[in-house]
Symmetry: C2
Subunit: 213 residues, 2 copies
Amino acid sequence: MDLSVKILPATNDVHGGVIVDLKEPMDSEDFATLLRSSLLHWKQQGKDGVWIKLPIELVNLAETAVKEGFWYHHAEPNYLMLVYWIPKTGCTIPPNASHRVAVGAIVLNDKKEVLVVKEKRGGFHGIGVWKIPTGLVDAGEEIFEAAIREVKEETGIDTEFVEVLAFRHTHNSFFGKSDISFICMLCPLSFDIKKQELEIEAAQVFSFDRCRT
Amino acid sequence: MDLSVKILPATNDVHGGVIVDLKEPMDSEDFATLLRSSLLHWKQQGKDGVWIKLPIELVNLAETAVKEGFWYHHAEPNYLMLVYWIPKTGCTIPPNASHRVAVGAIVLNDKKEVLVVKEKRGGFHGIGVWKIPTGLVDAGEEIFEAAIREVKEETGIDTEFVEVLAFRHTHNSFFGKSDISFICMLCPLSFDIKKQELEIEAAQVFSFDRCRT
């Protein structure tokens, strides 16, 4: 059996690189041998970027990849993505996600009352501040959907999206990442407030004319 | 010496959790012992979220943390961030960055000519498409700065930012993340095109009236 031709299973990407999506457990020494012969093979093929996706169950292989010159691209709760650049020319591997996107919801009823909450956690906790419902837009979620969802989660109120009033770009908000927040105008479709217990201390409507912020 | 009180160096965060920012090399068995006694200690203290930041040089400790129940929060090229949630109640650890933010630059001169490029790499390569300069906004960078930088990098043209014309939210563009693209109007301050060699095949100005997209 010719071990020299054994390489890691890989698929080509559209940019001239290869993607290794490991799923089966493997001994780290076997992985080291396979990885070295694979890198040689891909170099001969003229490949550039090499991506290795390691499920968290295969964390034992991360050290081997790093020793072979790989670095981290990104991680999600259940996997780690490592990358390597074969050519001598400049690396054009795109960076990881750089932003969180947030929504703030102005829910205004026909009495010009706005829906406000007090938070149980975080920087606004314990200082008596009433604020509009806010939250993060999930990857894959539309901005208007996130605004409707956050209002429902925090206050139990059903709403209809009206428009985006403004957006704001802020920096260094979370592990060096930046935030873009969209302030959305929503129209209430229900009026019975049921606050969420885990994160919300209080929720009420407030005369808009009395609001300072 | 009472080994039971030895715990990992940690700082409190503002949300009731602790952050361990490891910097010194450590044997993985020593780390396992310290981590277990630390988790007991933090539990007794009523802490909730535990964050461990491992520089890539300490990748040997990642397996130990995962075995103790930690999972990945995010990774950047030079470090891996692992998290753990002590209470029985729902985990409120915020998710990792979910979006990339991009700019597209419409650079229009007083002859109603627009600056366009052909790309050497990626999905637009080899299909003859002329497009406006585009690129990713770095974390910490302003949208207008990114637009000016991308035009300069790709074409050598200096510009002044005028306004944001539109934005677009797209999904599942890069490892399940979403993109927000801001189309910016810019005014050229120089006119001598010097295209970037690595990623740009051609750059020119084009009568705006002839543009289809």
